[in-house]
């Protein structure tokens, strides 16, 4: 037993532990694996069984109508005299928008609000990954997950259509147009949802906020478009289309790829088409900017 007056005799021994001398992956690899984890987490992979339920059900429900459409196309093509897809690729996302909205609204907080709420964000930011990388990669994960949800049924319809002997070249062109639309729609939706989710640590509030914005904007836009198409105020309806991601992207597809319109007042003329394209840019860049601004002071 040592008395308190004795000199402290502790020493740090060099036990000969070896340092890590292997290759160190750089920031790119960090960002890549962070992206992949985020993408897996949006579908509940690598999370608890209960968090797989909702995204998987939504994905299955997205695919179901496409499967039925393909079945009808294959079985009854000669009977009904069909020579193209029953529902256009560009119309499919607007028809199934409720499912897409619920997916984005439910999964954006899972990626973004939880990091803020459980303070995981401090751990991420303590790593070599910078703030803007964190924001951009999170956004990219969400957008990629949303894109998969939108594009999977389109791919199913395309494969089914080609197997049912629809003209290959024409079908490929239309499918690629649909995929381009899906990319833009996923970017717009993910941006909006990520901004809303980053403003609150309450998961429920974030979900409700995203749904309110998407549902209200679409209902208002379609009401205004319906009214303006009846009353010959076409321009009002075309401008109104800018204010909901779904009608906006449908307008862009009508303008760029000459897809059949799914709204009563699609954009007419080059100026209106360019305005739609500019609006997409504003949505995407605006939400990236807002997110960077939001995360500048997070701690």
């Amino acid at each position: 037993m040592s008395s308190p007056s004795e000199q402290p005799a502790g020493v740090i021994h060099d036990l000969g532990y070896r340092r890590y001398t292997g290759p160190r992956l750089g920031g790119g690899a960090v960002a890549r694996s962070f992206f992949l984890t985020g993408l897996r987490n949006t579908y509940g992979l690598g999370r608890s069984g209960r968090s797989k339920v909702l995204p998987m059900i939504l994905l299955a429900t997205m695919l179901l109508p496409a499967l039925i459409l393909v079945g009808v196309l294959v079985q009854a093509r000669d009977l009904l005299g069909l020579d193209s897809q029953i529902v256009a690729y560009s119309t499919y996302p607007i028809t199934t928008q409720l499912l897409i909205s619920v997916f984005v609204a439910a999964q954006a907080p899972a990626l973004i609000s939880r990091d803020l709420r459980f303070r995981t964000i401090t751990l991420y930011l303590a790593r070599p990954m910078g703030r803007s990388t964190y924001v951009l990669v999170r956004l990219a994960s969400l957008a990629a997950a949303t894109f998969l949800l939108i594009a999977a049924p389109l791919l199913l319809m395309y494969v089914g259509g080609v197997l049912a002997d629809l003209p290959l070249g024409r079908e490929t062109g239309r499918f690629l147009g649909g995929v381009a639309g899906a990319v833009l729609l996923a970017a717009c939706l993910a941006g909006l949802a990520a901004v809303m989710a980053s403003l609150t640590i309450r998961r429920g509030l974030a979900v409700a906020g995203v749904i309110v914005v998407l549902l209200v904007s679409f209902t208002v836009v379609s009401t205004v478009q319906g009214v303006s198409s009846v009353t010959e105020h076409g321009t009002v309806g075309q401008v109104a289309g800018l204010f909901s991601p779904y009608t906006l992207i449908n307008g862009v597809q009508v303008f760029l790829f000459d897809s059949p319109a799914a709204t009563p007042t699609p954009p007419e003329g080059t100026a209106m088409g360019l305005l739609h394209l500019a609006a997409v840019l504003v949505y995407v860049l605006g939400s990236v900017g807002a997110l960077l601004l939001r995360y500048r002071e997070v701690d």
């Binding site: 979900v207 409700a208 906020g209």
Partner: protein, 238 residues
Amino acid sequence: MISRTIVRLGVLSVFGRWRGALLLLLPVVLVGLAVVVRVLVGDDTGAAQNTLNAFGLTVAVPLVALLATSGLVAPEIDDGSIAYLLAKPVSRHEIVASKLLVAAGCVLLFAAVPLLVSGLVLRPADPDLALGFGLAGLVGGLAYCSLFAYLSVLTRHAIVVGLIYLLIWEGLLGGLLDGVRWLSITRWARELVDAVAGVRLVEDLPLWYAVAASVVVVLGGAWLTGRRLRGFNLTGDE
């Protein structure tokens, strides 16, 4: 039967953060839309009914109820502070009644009154239509509040479940299958509009059934919520 402290705290938690802003957004958009439609179409019965029905009664009312109710019970369960409330010698039914009173106030202020105002904007000559939609908004909103309150003590994912019920059952299936009208709060509210304003929004649904079903949902939901709170079990996240 009503605890004033719980009401006061409930009001604070509904308008805290930016939930209040979201709640305020809905009536503003509703009245704004009514003005736009009025300017574009003029005084037109069909457009007025469509706007009030498609946006007001079907989207705005349930969303106001959802936002208000989810601000009252779910956050407290989420962060566990409901334990302090439940530890007080206050009847669980009294807690639920006080919280639902706040939600009812929100529905009146942010759904029913804006519906009345937009009805008057769209059809100044026909106050019955505005009155019908205002009343239906209030009754439907109350029923939704009760339902969502019960959902929020049943599951942690009350908002998502409530939204799925709203979008899939009331929205998607309600539009496809006529039989849904017997189990759809929005359709009962539409029947009320029919009765007050003399229009035809929903077919073949007796008024007494719509009223009775709404009352049953309001009272039953509130009672079940209180009952569930009596034996409440706080569990961890996910």
